[in-house]
């Protein structure tokens, strides 16, 4: 590997990215030749995460909870069961836990040890969620973290941070914005951002999507 890196540097003053492209191609070739992996299965995994799984799923869940009190309660009681029953996705991992924001309490999700994140409802996490600044500061300076996202909460709103240190997964149920009475679930879902379901943002205001 060292030899290849040197060679590459000589040729192209290579960046880490192009070195990584070569390195991963070699890895995939070896693992395919050994019969461990099928490139078509790799394609299917990538396609699923690029086109099928993502925060639009969580947004549907939140919009449903905003409009249907019995669903909201079911979601808070057993997130995995409620999301499965909603039928937006066919399978949900165990121990999906929904935590609800109120005027008195704001929830924020982090994984200080690695990158645990509720993939099935939000897709793969963004780079910032997996980065050292977020993982280090969410637990001791959540208000400062919110400031980095341009969010200021009232001083009287307490903050609760959930460190995802096991195989339980958390999704924040953000507050429904005012001025959305009578909106359809679909229209409400357009207000629900990924960050609002991690707790580093708030749902959009009606004027933001009009």
């Amino acid at each position: 590997m060292e030899q290849k890196t040197e060679h590459h540097h000589d040729d192209e003053h290579g960046s880490e990215l192009s070195e990584m492209q070569l390195r991963v191609r070699a890895l995939e070739t070896v693992l395919t030749e050994k019969g461990y992996v099928d490139p078509a299965a790799l394609d299917a995994i990538i396609d699923a995460y690029e086109t099928k799984v993502g925060p639009h799923i969580g947004a549907r869940v939140v919009a449903k909870a905003w409009t249907d009190p019995s669903f909201r309660q079911a979601l808070l009681d057993d997130g995995s069961k409620a999301v499965l029953a909603l039928g937006v996705i066919n399978r949900v991992g165990d121990h999906l836990i929904a935590v609800e924001n109120t005027p008195k309490l704001h929830n924020m999700i982090v994984c200080t040890l690695c990158s645990c994140y509720p993939w099935e409802v939000l897709g793969l996490p963004p780079v910032w969620y997996k980065s050292a600044p977020y993982r280090s500061r969410a637990v001791n300076d959540p208000r400062g973290v919110l400031a980095d996202f341009g969010v200021t909460l009232p001083a009287e709103t307490a903050i609760r941070v959930w460190d995802s240190t096991a195989e339980t997964r958390f999704i924040v149920l953000p507050m429904r914005p005012k001025g959305t009475d009578g909106w359809s679930e679909e229209k409400l879902a357009s207000l629900v951002t990924r960050d609002s379901m991690v707790g580093t943002g708030l749902a959009k205001q009606p004027g933001d999507v009009a």
Partner: protein
């Protein structure tokens, strides 16, 4: 292990820089690495905590300087070498030099929709839960050199059991090949000041998911 991966409460990493309209993967190799890690885990050669432990054992300077998927790639190479599944000289050559080992199963494209859900980590309990919601507990002051999910910032701290989450695979043993050893899992909530002292915001609460062996009565 007390590694640089255990970042909660550390200073000096700077501001968070969210990217607008961020793609799922920034480079093709990131996507391939993600999928390779997934497909290799599917073969049954290792579990999720062994993958985490491999990344935690990267040299600290490498861990901090590498992008997220580079850490995954380096961790994958490390695991393949440690289990004699693919040797460094084969990766350098870009071709298999020895036949592959026989593995339990191989992921096919048709299986993917069925397996992109997280597995279940719940296991039958072997004894009743020791703690109940509402009880005060103290986290242990432990510093294992191997994988643990008790972060440094939450060791030797008093918190309250908020919820019992069932009996789960114990990462500390399964990551080092010592079996699933199921343990009760709790949500334990701490006052910000218990963790960070007087400078913490008085209303801050931080919870972690704590396995029973991390806890003792307070």
């Amino acid at each position: 292990m007390d590694g640089v991966h255990d970042m909660g409460g550390m200073h000096g990493f700077g501001k968070i820089k969210p990217e607008q309209n961020e793609p799922v993967f920034h480079e093709e190799w990131e996507a391939r690495t993600f999928a390779l890690c997934w497909a290799m885990r599917y073969t049954g050669v290792w579990c999720i905590d062994q993958g985490r432990f491999a990344r935690e054992r990267l040299p600290p300077a490498v861990y901090l300087a590498s992008s997220y998927y580079k850490k995954w790639e380096l961790g994958l190479e490390k695991q393949l070498a440690e289990l004699d599944l693919a040797a460094p000289d084969e990766l350098a050559a870009g071709h298999a030099l020895l036949p592959g080992k026989s593995l339990k199963r191989k992921l096919s494209a048709a299986d993917v929709p069925e397996v992109i859900t997280r597995g279940s980590f719940t296991r039958p309990a072997r004894q009743p839960a020791r703690f109940k919601p509402g009880e005060c507990v103290r986290t242990k002051n432990i510093h294992p050199e191997t994988h643990t999910r008790l972060p440094r910032y939450a060791r030797d701290r008093v918190g309250v059991i908020e919820a019992l989450r069932g009996s789960h695979v114990f990462p500390d043993t399964v990551a080092i090949g010592k079996g699933e050893d199921p343990q009760w899992l709790y949500t334990v909530v701490f006052d910000g000041r218990e963790l960070w002292g007087a400078s913490a915001e008085p209303s801050l609460k931080v919870s972690m998911e704590a396995f029973e062996p991390y806890l003792e009565p307070a």
